[in-house]
């Protein structure tokens, strides 16, 4: 059996290839929404910060994790909303007609 680190490296490398396959198909028109959408996805680190903040004590690790949650949530919520707003404009004309 592979150790968890090796599994992680496998997953990382294969995901990069999946990413490359998909992203190269995205038309230049959508590059900005792609960037802000991908950006929001990088807020997945929120999952890590929630795990780290599970102690209720007021100690350095909790405070660091708390700030991490705030940052990551801004990234996630702001990123997805702003992308949706942008994409809404691309479809605006279609919706009217």
């Amino acid at each position: 059996m592979m150790g968890p680190l090796l599994v992680g490296i496998y997953v990382f490398v294969l995901s990069i290839f999946v990413g490359i396959e998909i992203i190269t198909k995205i038309p230049p028109t959508l590059h900005t929404p792609l960037m802000s959408g991908a950006n929001a996805i990088s807020g997945i680190t929120l999952v890590g910060s929630i795990g780290a903040a599970s102690s209720g004590e007021v100690i350095a690790s909790s405070i660091l994790a708390f700030v991490a949650i705030v940052f990551a949530t801004i990234n996630v919520v702001g990123g997805f909303l702003v992308t949706d707003r942008m994409l809404g404009m691309f479809g605006k004309r279609k919706a009217k007609s």
Binding site: L5, S15, L30, P33, V47, S49, A65, I74, F80, D84
Partner: protein
């Protein structure tokens, strides 16, 4: 029950989340499915968050809830209030927060697992060597992303000058700081035996990483921003993936890798569009040293009024509009759309030529014109529009300069030689709306200004366009 939850339900839900992220990105390959793709990615994120909470079980939620509420409110307000023209700086800012969060998670874990229990061993001895290394990488890359994105935000929003700032011997300074940072990381990982020393080393590593981020972005000038923003985007993904390695959480690794790949490809596309390498963009300080030698005087420049421009547009059968960063600065996207509508009503064929690095981020012009309701089918990429300039009657260049400079093709000694440009000079008439004869970002002379088929229309892009619109209207009324 609890056992099934952690060994089966939680991993399956994480897998579902990862798959949905991939489908979400896939949705972004078409305009029609893009919005749904973004919604799928948000759903994936929601599933990941709920799964994490499930996995935690009953813990003290006060920090978690407070963080989610504050972050959610700030993010939502910022996203809903931001002007479309301010999108590049908004994207940069959000990106910084993502990177910063990854660094903070790694720091938090270091504190929680090693420093607070007061172990007198190194991080590698407590967490394992791989986790110690990836935690350091997460801090390094995350902090660089945070401070680098903040500088990009300040530059893009005009709060600090967009000009490249070049420190003397900056490569030496950067190398020394990087080595110092690396030393602190190795100390934390393998040599520290006292919590207090580890705290110091962690602070040093974080601060040095933040400084590296600042130093990476301050030498970058305005027109290179699309490259650096894409690169920072990629880094924020890599930082998240590194955090995933520390936590042994595959969904972080997958999502982070996807973002890392996405940013890297955009970086590559932007570099190709400028005929430069990433290394050249990051380290050359282009735009300051670049051109001054070459920015000579102009001798044969003809200045025309908006009225004359209107008359040429009136008689044209095909018009191509070339938007640049100046269009965004003047917020002239609605004026340009009004003019295009007016011309189209008269049977003129109107299209827009989009250079990949026009503006300050990948796809900047597309978003700006979409806001003004310009149908995206009218936006033509460089490779497809270049052969059509020969048969185009009139080209209207609005706030672009370097991307239409013929020197890129004709002068092998030019600093921008080899950069793919829009061959607007092939058209019957070129009209450039520009505030002055000042050079573009590359700081070099644009011979196009002196071409016989080129007309300069001086003034603010929005004002000039509005004047042209009213001239075309009155010509219409007279006819």
């Amino acid at each position: 029950m609890n056992n099934t939850l952690t060994t089966f339900v939680v991993p399956v839900l994480y897998l579902l989340s990862a798959v949905l992220f991939i489908f979400g990105l896939k949705g972004l390959t078409r305009v029609r499915s893009a919005r749904r793709g973004n919604a799928l990615a948000s759903l994936a994120m929601l599933i990941a968050i709920v799964t994490t909470l499930l996995d935690l079980g009953f813990v003290d939620y006060q920090w978690i809830i407070a963080g989610l509420v504050i972050g959610g409110l700030v993010g939502a307000v910022a996203a809903l209030k931001v002007e479309m023209t301010a999108m590049p700086e908004m994207v940069a800012l959000f990106n910084g927060f993502g990177g910063g969060a990854s660094a903070l998670v790694a720091l938090s874990i270091l504190w929680k697992e090693v420093i607070e229990p007061s172990y007198t061993e190194s991080a590698a001895a407590v967490l394992g060597g791989a986790s110690a290394i990836t935690a350091f990488l997460s801090i390094l890359i995350g902090a660089i992303t945070l401070s680098g994105s903040l500088i990009a935000f300040l530059k893009l929003s005009g709060k600090i000058g967009g000009q490249p700032t070049l420190l003397p011997a900056r490569h030496v300074i950067n190398s020394v700081i990087f080595l110092g940072c690396l030393a602190a990381g190795i100390y934390i990982g393998f040599f520290s035996h006292a919590p207090s020393a580890m705290v110091m080393a962690a602070l040093v590593a974080t601060i040095l990483s933040l400084i590296l981020g600042v130093l990476m972005v301050i030498p970058i000038g305005g027109a290179d921003m699309p490259v650096i923003i894409s690169f920072l985007n990629s880094l924020s993904g890599v930082a998240a993936a590194m955090t995933g390695f520390v936590l042994g959480n595959n969904v972080l690794i997958i999502a982070g890798a996807l973002v890392g790949a996405s940013g890297l490809i955009l970086t590559q596309i932007m570099c190709v569009a400028m005929n430069r390498t990433l290394g050249n963009v990051l380290f050359s300080g282009f735009g300051q040293e670049g051109g001054s030698a070459d920015s000579g005087e102009y001798t044969n420049v003809r200045s025309y009024s908006p009225e004359e421009a209107a008359m040429i547009l009136e008689t044209a059968e095909s018009v191509v509009i070339v938007p640049g960063y100046g269009l965004a600065v003047a917020q002239a996207q609605h004026a340009v759309k009004e003019l295009a509508d007016l011309l189209q009503k008269r049977g003129v064929k109107v299209s827009y030529a989009i250079h990949p690095v026009a503006g300050r981020m990948p796809g900047h012009m597309n978003v700006l014109l979409a806001e003004a309701d310009v149908p995206y089918e009218q936006l033509i990429e460089m490779e497809r529009i270049n052969p059509e300039f020969k048969t185009t009657d009139a080209v209207l260049v609005v706030g672009a300069n370097d991307v239409v400079n013929p020197a890129a093709e004709k002068d092998p000694k030019s600093p921008i030689a080899g950069m793919p440009v829009l061959q607007v000079w092939e058209a019957q008439t070129v009209m450039m709306i520009k505030r002055s004869l000042s050079p573009g970002f590359a700081g070099i002379k644009n011979e196009l200004f002196e071409y016989d088929n080129n007309m300069m229309v001086f003034g603010d892009a929005k004002k000039v366009l509005q004047e042209i619109v009213s001239e075309v209207k009155s010509l219409n009324a007279a006819a």
